[in-house]
């Protein structure tokens, strides 16, 4: 039936936006005696299944815009925004966080001004849209997001058992998770920039409350830090809306797909402002501290908001504006911010022993790489950026959940305490191993993307700068991943197995995510040809892909990597075990050695952190200064354009 799919897809889009919201509300108001875990599981299943169904229906459809009447919706949105603003003001004043208060006021004022002056006269017709990039984002949010929600059930229970001092606010926790999912779907399906800003602010708000979940002083401070930095981005976003509306009273250009095709002279100003908002959301360098602070949140929150989805919204919006930024100096500045963030975050991760901070730095770094690709914005870099986004989301969410599970069991998130995990928690250690391999080893995802990035940057303007950044930053990331990997696979004998008592749904989620890391690496050529290439083609009129021969070689390598562990079953000569060499002083199977006076000591091995070279303070200061400089140049340039 011709055109029938249009109706079907819009139904799916609306379902994905509204269904998590309904689940969220049900979860909030369900009676105390009611077992909410079933609602979470069923909702998660529904969201995941519908996202996949959307893929099946929509992957070959290209860009579709939908006329949805916006009148009442706009009103509801403004009311919600004002309610949130009032709530934030109240919290800000109560906690004496006046910078956040000022930003809330400024933003609320901007939005009110926009609505009063322009918004009332603007009636956009095409509020929703849908293309392959939306499908990719929807899959990330729908599959990974719902898996993390299911995982949270078990995690939060153990979390509250371990931290009886923290008030159990799980009802609100799940409400926010699902509200967040709804907002993410809204963000990726909205064509109307006003709507995007609304959903953008909802994600900021969810992130703010979830970071402050434990209500300790540290958590509250970090939550306000995240709020302030994201609001700064929100202010820039609102300013972009006002600029567009002021320049184009018809408001047609408030539609994303029209705006990006409206030409450099007009679109560059909103593009830079919104990209600035994207930089704050993606925790690029001057703003990276909020993401590190956000690690105080329960681990599923870090996995969902601060690695696989919400921060991806930041790069998503920059990716949307990539065609505008291509070849401009402003775009180059944004790309450089991303590049420098990638380099410095990868270096700083070397000096960290807190597993979640390492993951946070790695997330910041990889988002930086995506921003660099999007800022330079040629067609092949667009392809790379989307690929990076997919691989990163899958592998990083797995790693966060693994670290969360380990933390639940051993009571520490320090990498130094994860020694010999392969003996203590074998299954989990293998999962972490696969996740890390996904992050930095050939032929898994991230390295494919870095490779493609080098090949793409080489033909791009000023590409050499980025290649050098990639060469050094890539090596640095190899160091911190590998030493962590080494830590967990050290075989320390006679250890107790701690892998008991992990709930089956947690295992299920971990297994699925591990499977996804491998599957995505196996079928990425398919993802590329079905989703990414058509999208890039539609935007740029040309596209790219890896050479067939190379894909074959990579798949062969992956196959080899998968079968290599089985070689352990066929050892020629029966091995004899001997303790490690310690100058002849080994005792007790290599776990102890005899020191002077015949005293037996435990063998303790620590990793190198090279703090003098890759220490946080120095690199962070440098990065902040340089990146502020770059952002200022970009802002001055657009002021120049306005004048």
């Amino acid at each position: 039936m011709e055109g029938g799919y249009l109706v079907q897809i819009i139904q799916l889009l609306l379902f994905l936006i509204l269904f998590p919201l309904i689940s969220a509300i049900v979860l909030l108001f369900a009676g105390k005696s009611f077992d909410t875990s079933w609602i979470v599981k069923i909702s998660a299943l529904g969201i995941g299944a519908v996202s996949l169904y959307l893929l099946a229906v929509g992957f070959d459809k290209g860009l579709i815009t939908y006329a949805v009447s916006s009148g009442p919706v706009d009103l509801v949105m403004i009311i919600i925004e004002l309610v949130i603003a009032v709530y934030l003001l109240y919290l800000g004043i109560r906690h004496k966080k006046y910078s956040a208060v000022i930003l809330v006021l400024v933003q609320a004022a901007l939005i009110l001004w926009f609505e009063m002056t322009y918004g009332r006269h603007i009636e956009l017709s095409y509020n929703l849209f849908f293309d392959q990039l939306s499908i990719i984002m929807a899959l990330i949010v729908g599959i990974i997001g719902s898996l993390i929600c299911v995982y949270s059930l078990g995690y939060m229970e153990t979390y509250h058992q371990h931290h009886p001092e923290i008030k159990d606010r799980r009802r609100m926790f799940f409400f926010l998770l699902f509200a967040f999912l709804s907002a993410m779907f809204g963000l990726v399906f909205s064509n109307n920039l006003v709507w995007i800003l609304f959903f953008w602010e909802i994600t900021t708000f969810c992130s703010f409350v979830l970071i402050g979940y434990s209500q300790t002083e540290e958590a509250t401070n970090n939550a306000f830090l995240a709020l302030s930095m994201n609001l700064l981005g929100g202010v820039a976003f609102a300013a972009a809306l006002i600029y567009i509306a002021a320049m184009d009273p018809s408001g047609r250009l408030l539609e994303l797909n029209t705006l990006i095709h409206s030409g450099y002279v007009f679109a560059i100003i909103p593009a830079v402002l919104i990209s600035f908002a994207g930089l704050t959301k993606a925790a690029q360098l001057p703003f990276s501290s909020w993401l590190l602070g956000a690690m105080v949140a329960p681990t599923p929150v870090s996995a969902l908001l601060h690695s696989s989805t919400m921060v991806k919204a930041g790069v998503y919006i920059i990716l949307r504006f990539a065609p505008v930024l291509t070849g401009t100096t402003e775009g180059l500045m944004i790309a450089l911010v991303g590049g420098i963030t990638f380099l410095l975050a990868s270096c700083m991760a070397i000096s960290q022993s807190n597993a979640k901070r390492v993951l946070a730095y790695s997330t910041i770094g990889n988002l930086g790489l995506i921003v660099a690709c999007a800022g330079v914005g040629t067609y092949n870099l667009m392809w790379v950026a989307i690929l990076l986004m997919i691989f990163h989301a899958v592998a990083k969410s797995l790693l966060f959940l693994c670290v969360g599970t380990v933390e639940n069991r051993i009571g520490s998130r320090d990498i130094e305490d994860m020694g010999g995990l392969i003996e203590r928690m074998p299954k989990l250690a293998v999962m972490m191993f696969i996740g890390m391999a996904g992050m930095f080893l050939a032929p898994f995802g991230m390295i494919i993307s870095k490779w493609a990035a080098i090949e793409a940057f080489i033909t791009a303007p000023f590409g050499l700068v980025f290649i050098v950044i990639l060469a050094f930053g890539g090596s640095a990331s190899l160091f911190f991943w590998c030493k962590w990997m080494g830590k967990i696979i050290s075989v320390m004998r006679h250890q107790e197995n701690l892998e008991t008592g992990i709930r089956p749904e947690k295992w299920a989620v971990l297994y699925i995510l591990t499977g996804l890391v491998v599957i995505v690496a196996l079928i990425f050529p398919l993802i590329s040809s079905a989703l990414i290439e058509p999208f890039v083609m539609q935007i740029y009129g040309e596209t790219t892909r890896l050479a067939q021969a190379n894909i074959t070689i990579m798949l062969l390598m992956l196959g080899l990597l998968i079968i290599m562990p089985f070689s352990m079953l066929f050892t020629g000569k029966a091995p004899r075990m001997a303790p490690p060499y310690m100058g002849g002083m080994t005792t007790e199977g290599g776990m102890k050695y005899t020191g002077s006076m015949g005293i037996s000591h435990d063998l303790v091995l620590s990793n190198y952190y090279l703090k003098n070279y890759f220490g946080e303070e120095k690199l962070f200061m440098t990065g902040t200064l340089v990146c502020w400089g770059l952002i200022l140049i970009a802002l001055i340039m657009i002021v120049g354009v306005i004048l």
Partner: protein, 293 residues
């Protein structure tokens, strides 16, 4: 361009069969020349083969059975990297496979949970991050000159690549010292008998596993010298002469310098990559990509 599949497979097989022979001979010549430099007669030319033969005669002594897997993976992926290189594959893919194989060596050392292996592993990682940027820049430099990442195309180029990439070549030679585990950069393990951390990464490998690691080193030699060849590919005779001179220089440096600390290794390798490599490429980028696109 991308080589024909059959031709590529034949080349890969030839490499897989001949590289250990050639690599072993290179190691033998290395030991012989080193001995002469020290005023000794030195071992027979085929000594490396005797050593490896012996390793396979010995008992398989391990700290943990996972070491078998890591040692084998090191060998397999080193061979894969070299085979990809000699069958004319993509340079960057070759580099990634090459790095992957080293990661397995490092993991093998970590797995043993032994102080000497552990320090060796950390140092090996520092060595990897020290040399990797320069190797990637080498591949990028080759692309800038020949407009291809495929070894098959680079080798057929009639351009004297060395004239365009003198800085990159010097940088490559310096990281080659790290890669060949020669003084002053033989931090993680060395081909000499002793060092302050016993044998570094390979301390807790014995018997057949050590043999596999040694064979992997042979594959590695041939691959690394193959990259030297590419700089001079327009004239095979000069290229082979260059390989001989380069290797002789490495032996000379090995015998005349003392081991430095990791700080110095990292700093000098990154400094070289960041100055010689980047300036060379910057000039080339400007000329090739900006002036004459």
């Amino acid at each position: 361009m991308i080589p024909e599949p059959y031709e590529a497979i034949v080349k890969a097989i030839i490499y897989l069969l001949l590289a250990p022979v050639l690599g072993g001979l290179i190691a033998g010549i290395d030991r012989k020349v080193t001995a002469r430099m020290q005023g000794r007669v030195g071992p027979p030319l085929l000594q490396p083969f005797y050593d490896v033969g012996k390793f396979f005669e010995k008992e398989n002594l391990v700290v943990t059975t996972t070491q078998n897997f890591y040692a084998l993976s090191y060998l397999v992926f080193m061979a894969v990297a070299g085979a990809l290189f000699f069958s004319g594959g993509d340079m960057l893919l070759v580099i990634f496979a090459f790095t992957l194989s080293h990661i397995f060596l490092v993991l093998g050392a970590y797995a043993a949970f032994s102080p000497y292996s552990h320090i060796g592993a950390e140092r090996e990682l520092i060595q990897i991050i020290a040399y990797e940027p320069m190797i990637i820049l080498t591949a990028v430099g080759m692309y800038m000159v020949t407009k291809s990442f495929y070894v098959g195309s680079i080798v057929q180029s009639t351009t004297p690549i060395i004239l365009y990439l003198p800085g990159v070549f010097i940088g490559y030679l310096i990281v080659l010292t790290i890669k060949l585990r020669k003084s002053p950069f033989d931090l993680s393990t060395s081909h000499h008998a002793h060092q302050e951390i016993v044998k570094g990464v390979t301390t807790d490998f014995a018997g057949p596993n050590l043999g596999r690691i040694e064979i992997a080193h042979w594959y590695e030699y041939v691959f690394l010298l193959g990259v030297v060849y590419l700089f001079f590919a327009w004239n095979p005779f000069i290229a082979i002469a260059a390989i001989i001179i380069a290797y002789f220089l490495e032996i000379l440096i090995d015998n005349t310098t003392s081991r430095v600390k990791w700080q110095m290794t990292l700093r000098s390798a990154w400094l070289v990559a960041g100055t010689l490599g980047v300036i060379n490429l910057g000039v080339l980028y400007y000329l090739r990509m900006v002036v004459v696109p």
